[in-house]
């Protein structure tokens, strides 16, 4: 008989001012749904785009403010921030930093979403997802210029999920955030205007595999809860550090949770969805997903592994090292044989997940009183660099077109450098950044993760990582060869003239990539001063 007496309830204390960026984005997303319901159709897309952009900018400004107002905690290791929302969220340096980069990614992606010049005044998303491709309904939707302006609220909901995921301090919040992050993305993947079948299949695949992996994550949470009796990361840490038995359950819990997280970051062997989804999804969505999901999921993974299971790092480290190696290797090797730009970028993202994992397994938390780049800050920096460059790269992909929409087959990119050197130059720059060539942000990023790994004592991994980067460089270079040193086949690709939106995105990505390569100082300092996780 469960007692009917209710325990006394206290109204929870929520740090509204510190959590404002989350509320802003969530609020704007909800407002977007209202706009969707009441705004006249003719100008709805524009209204949604403006709303989303303004909302993201507001949140970004607020994030900066929040970051400056984080309290410093002088633990043995520097940290800043606090545990808020009754222990559900941790508003700490790394978390708020990640909000910042996520918002920047989102801002860039929103601009790409809003691009309508490429399809002759229509967005990259299908007018009415319910219509079958080629049906009368679709033709009607096109002629009436019906558009899915819901993409903006959906993306913002996903963004809220990402932000939550990056700063959740208990596993339940984390799971909810994971789903909030994923569900809108599943939908967004399936509504490309061109090549709908591909897009829908991508959505289906992403959905089924994503749901499957999140169930693993969830079962891991359940086992962790069974082991520790709490969802709070710090409580789990205590339970893990003082454990007396139940090691098997703990290991199973870690394994299952890590599987879920590795899926999201696209690490081998849980990467199989990545190329298909990257290829099938509408390119602006791919850009958003590639940059955002990876950043959020990595932060969550860092939190889980460092904060909750830090006491058991000797158990999970060898496995993650192995995964890092095969991820880097497979991502690099398989991408060489790709013939599709988006698939190639997908494999490159896999390889990058591997490099990020290298930084992670360093498990280097720094030494008190010493300025040395830690695993967390190296990953924070890498994520920013990778995200910006990959959004830029996908933005370029949206511009290279033929009569059937984007032309992503690599052979069609031949000679691009001759017909439009600026665009090809930008793409080449992103490739160089991915390859980690100096004077690009990618180099500094790679440098920092390798440093963190070496500081953590896994220098053989650094050597492997370095060799794999050379391997990976091969296919980036191959693309450059194709664009600049090969003559175009037939008429060659046409490069659509974008509106200012895409131009701004590409330009920003270029400037950021070069800027972070030459003067990475400010961002690197930011990543470093974000400090450790607050427990």
């Amino acid at each position: 008989m469960i007692s009917a007496e209710l325990p006394p309830l206290d109204a929870p204390h929520i740090e509204y001012s510190l959590l404002a960026p989350l509320f802003i984005i969530a609020g704007v997303a909800v407002l977007g749904v209202v706009v969707e319901a009441v705004w006249p159709r003719a100008s709805r897309f524009t209204a949604q785009a403006i709303l989303a952009v303004v909302g993201v900018i507001a949140a970004l400004v607020d994030t900066v403010w929040v970051y400056q107002n984080l309290d410093k905690i002088d633990d043995p290791k520097l940290a800043r921030g606090l545990i808020g929302a009754e222990g559900a969220l941790s508003i700490d340096g790394p978390g708020v930093y990640t909000w910042g980069i996520l918002l920047v990614f989102a801002l860039m992606s929103m601009l790409l979403f809003a691009e309508r010049r490429l399809e002759g005044g229509l967005s990259a998303f299908t007018g009415r997802a319910a219509d079958a491709p080629g049906s009368a309904g679709e033709a009607e939707a096109i002629s009436k210029r019906i558009e899915h302006s819901e993409v903006f609220p959906l993306a913002l909901f996903s963004l809220v999920g990402m932000m939550l995921f990056a700063s959740s301090n208990d596993l339940l919040t984390m799971f909810v955030a994971l789903e909030v992050l994923s569900l809108p993305l599943y939908l967004l993947c399936g509504i490309a205007r061109r090549r709908r079948l591909l897009s829908q299949e991508a959505a289906l695949k992403y959905f089924l595999l994503g749901a499957f992996s999140s169930v693993f994550f969830l079962y891991g949470i359940a086992l962790t809860y069974g082991f520790a009796g709490s969802f709070r990361l710090s409580d789990i840490d205590v339970a893990v550090s003082t454990r007396t038995g139940g090691t098997n359950m703990l290991l199973a819990a870690i394994a299952l949770m890590v599987v879920g997280l590795l899926f999201k970051i696209g690490a081998v062997p849980f990467h199989t969805w990545t190329p298909d989804v990257y290829q099938g999804a509408p390119t602006p969505v791919t850009a958003f997903m590639a940059a955002g999901t990876k950043a959020a999921a990595f932060l969550a993974m860092l939190r889980v592994l460092f904060v909750a299971f830090g006491g058991s790092s000797w158990d999970w480290r060898p496995t993650i090292i192995g995964i890092a190696v095969i991820t880097m290797f497979l991502g690099a090797v398989v991408s060489i044989s790709q013939t599709d730009v988006k698939r190639m970028l997908a494999y490159s993202s896999i390889a990058h997940a591997g490099f990020l994992l290298v930084g992670l397994v360093g498990v280097y938390g720094g030494v008190a009183g010493e300025e040395r780049i830690t695993s967390v800050s190296s990953i924070l920096f890498y994520l920013a660099v990778y995200g910006v460059a990959s959004i830029g790269a996908f933005a370029v992909v949206t511009l290279v077109r033929d009569s059937g929409g984007e032309t992503t087959h690599l052979s069609r990119w031949a000679g691009l450098g001759k017909t439009s050197p600026l665009l090809a130059g930008a793409f080449a720059l992103f490739m160089l950044s991915f390859a980690g060539i100096p004077l690009t942000g990618g180099f500094i990023g790679k440098w920092s993760v390798f440093t963190a790994a070496w500081s953590g004592g896994v220098w053989p991994l650094v050597v492997i990582g370095v060799l794999v980067s050379a391997l990976a460089a091969y296919f980036y270079v191959r693309v450059i060869v194709l664009m600049f040193f090969t003559d175009p086949v037939g008429d060659g690709p046409t490069v659509a003239v974008p509106s200012a939106l895409t131009t701004v995105v590409i330009a920003f990505a270029v400037v950021a990539t070069v800027g972070l390569g030459i003067l990475p100082g400010p961002l690197l300092d930011l990543a470093q001063h974000a400090g450790a996780f607050v427990r």
């Binding site: 209710l6 309830l9 109204a11 749904v33 209202v34 969707e36 319901a37």
Partner: protein, 119 residues
Amino acid sequence: MTVYTPILVLGALAAGFAVFSILIAPITGPKRYNRAKLDRYESGIQPSPLPEGGGKISVRYFIIAMLFIVFDIEIIFLYPFAVAFDSLGWFGLIEMFIFMVTVFIAYAYVWRRGGLEWD
């Protein structure tokens, strides 16, 4: 002997009755074979073969099912709130109001987009 035992007892009685009825029917009833009788009923015309999976069903049903899920979830969250209403204070009221408004916005969206139309 928990609070659930009576439910099971009553359920067992009902189940017993239902199964008994099902079992007894073929015994008590007559059997007169007639091919047409075993075909499905289509108002007297020759039954056409049913398409696989039951054929096409209006997508409206799916929408209704999804909407139901959304609102059922809302209800699930409203109930504990309602029961603990007095001890939650103004905070609870406001939070729940926000929650309901959020769901209501989704509802308004579906309405405006014709999700509630039957045609």
